[in-house]
Amino acid sequence: MTDQPTPMHAPDLPELSAYLDGELDAGGRLRVAAHLATCPGCAARLAELQALSAGFRALPEEKLGFDLAGVIEGRLAHAPRPTAARGRRDWWAGLPVAVGAAASIAAGVFMGSTLVAGGAATAPRMAAMRVFDTMPPGNLCIGLESCYAKGSIK
């Protein structure tokens, strides 16, 4: 039995892992290094983490195998440009189109107003409405009085 309290086992795995990555501050590094010197279990754990890192470094460096930049350049040549860049540089490029559209609308409004306001726009005589007569146009008259009465309209 001992009167001394049992020290908490440090460092934990995240600390060991950060130690391996060089992500601990100076105090943390010293503390972990001191612990590793006296704890075979943690030293072995760190060795496992180091072995894993070495394994990743040994993985083959896969390559795309062709010049993607050329493909991207080709696609970009046919694609619309990014919004902000277009907004900065090409605001004047649409000016002729805008002026043309405004002129078309103005001409349309002017022509429409002359038709409505001129008073000359009288309704044409609707001769075609005669198709609703009892005797359709072009039919032979079978001797009814109405036929002769209608003929007298002319």
Binding site: E48, A51, R57, P82
Partner: protein, 193 residues
Amino acid sequence: MADDAESGLIARARAGEHRAFAVLVRQYQDRVFRFILRMVGARDEAMDLTQETFMKAHQALPGWRPETQFRTWLFRIAHNAALDVLRRRERIEFVSLSDLSAGEEDHALPDPARQPDERLADRQSIELLERTLQELPAEHREILLLREVEDMSYTEIAATLGIAEGTVKSRIARARSAAIAGYQRHSGDNRDD
């Protein structure tokens, strides 16, 4: 933060110079491809996703800020693209820390007589590690790739994945632990064969 040469290229690309963007593509295409390939596991899909990553990056260039590191910004787009594919495949698995740690203590520690670099040096070991990596949950796989292959700092990983640095520290530790457990399990399987 991007270096001066890179910042210049980005500025020219933002101004609409496709050739400048092409230089950036050439600079990063293999690294982005490698990351995506190990995330999705299929070469053809990884090639398409790499291309789409750069197209999306070009579209998003007006939103890039000079204080952001271009590499982490680009890898964030790649990471999102890869996760979209994995979600569609329904391959994303969420594994709790307790699940991960349950079996780890059963595995023997590596032979201390051998140097760490020697343990995974041979071809079979590399294949086992690739297999182990593919079996890890996506969030473990990506953080290991960013740390171990891309050599990103915790700050850079946090920016890439959009998580806190404290989360990076604990997640890397969990991912490493899971990878070691998986590797040792596969090593055991091979010895039993």
